[in-house]
Symmetry: C2
Subunit: 205 residues, 2 copies
């Protein structure tokens, strides 16, 4: 099985190069993911936990700087035509304990707003898989509201990433090929409804 993610960090600052470089620094050193970067995104290949863990660490490093930073990520598992890769070894959610206890995880201290979508490919009953994963985010305490084409999440970054990893593991058992897209944001000037009303429709278009 081939598992990985294309992700990008967007620090909304003149210092964006420095913030990105310092965030992705060290990704390769752990040896649990394969890393390839170009000007559009960074590819991580590895087990779901290693990939989500690496991206969460990158995001938290970038989010430690003041200001507004956004992560965009597309996670994929089981894409036909991709090679088997021994580094990927997905955990099997059917095995007891493979899914994370989201509410019980330590908090990172970084509050985020996020939205995500899961796309189980090649199966007719994909909407049921999607509905179940949305429901699971409610149980995990990170659901904020439905939006057109995606689901809004909120809470501590560690809880939000863990809930999305669980969705990726669980839905991946129902569809051979699964894609999960995510946007995670910290420090938007329009984050609170009152601020949003003041700034109008701007914030982040």
């Amino acid at each position: 099985m081939f598992v990985g993610c294309q992700f990008s960090l967007y620090p909304m600052t003149d210092r964006f190069v420095e913030v990105i470089l310092s965030a992705v620094d060290g990704l390769k050193d752990r040896g649990d993911v394969r890393v390839e970067t170009d000007d559009l995104s960074t590819l991580l290949v590895g087990s779901p936990r290693a990939v989500f863990g690496g991206i969460e660490r990158c995001f938290l490093k970038a989010a430690a700087a003041p200001g507004h930073v956004v992560l965009n990520a597309t996670f994929s598992r089981g894409c036909p035509g991709e090679p088997d890769d021994p580094i990927c070894r997905p955990e099997r959610p059917r095995a007891a304990g493979a899914l994370l206890d989201v509410r019980g995880l330590p908090r990172s201290g970084c509050d985020v707003a996020a939205q995500f979508a899961v796309y189980p490919l090649g199966i007719e009953g994909y909407m049921d898989v999607i509905a179940r994963e949305i429901d699971e985010t409610k149980k995990a305490g990170v659901f904020a509201r439905g939006k057109h084409f995606c689901t809004r999440l909120g809470g501590d970054a560690s809880h939000v990433f863990a809930a999305m990893l669980n969705a990726f593991e669980r839905a991946g058992e129902r569809a051979g090929h699964l894609v999960l897209t995510a946007t995670v944001s910290k420090g938007s000037p329009t984050e609170s409804p009152s601020a949003r009303e003041r700034i109008g429709r701007g914030g982040n278009a």
Copy 2:
């Protein structure tokens, strides 16, 4: 049919609020799309051409400022459970002339790097649909190279957006529910291979 897009602009500058506000200004005035914004993204609902056209205009306005700006967008058509909306009226690609002649379009003058993916949902033969759309980007002259999980495009912004709109229209005829994700970037400091070699793995993570 419900057709729309959640999109975000990421200007990598301290002045990001100003760049975003000026880019999205005027979206509502044309009356051909419905617009809803929160701190994570802006929703446009309308016909495929109106939605792609609105987002291309926003991106070009933001890209007129100096520096690095990125658009992330998730286009969707035919999602089950979304209401029919009379504003959507997709053009029918089967009708002669509905698809754009990408190579014949006027250039915007803005060169971009992009990557996109199409997800035809609920059908077994979805990989054939994807393969055909990748092939069509080659015919349109905007294909750059395959990447894991997506296809890299490059060229004038108007040609890249037109090729993606064609993919959205054409693949939408094969799958009742279609999602297309896109990243479009201008002004990355790692845009050229030589610059990328100098900066190493940074640029945009």
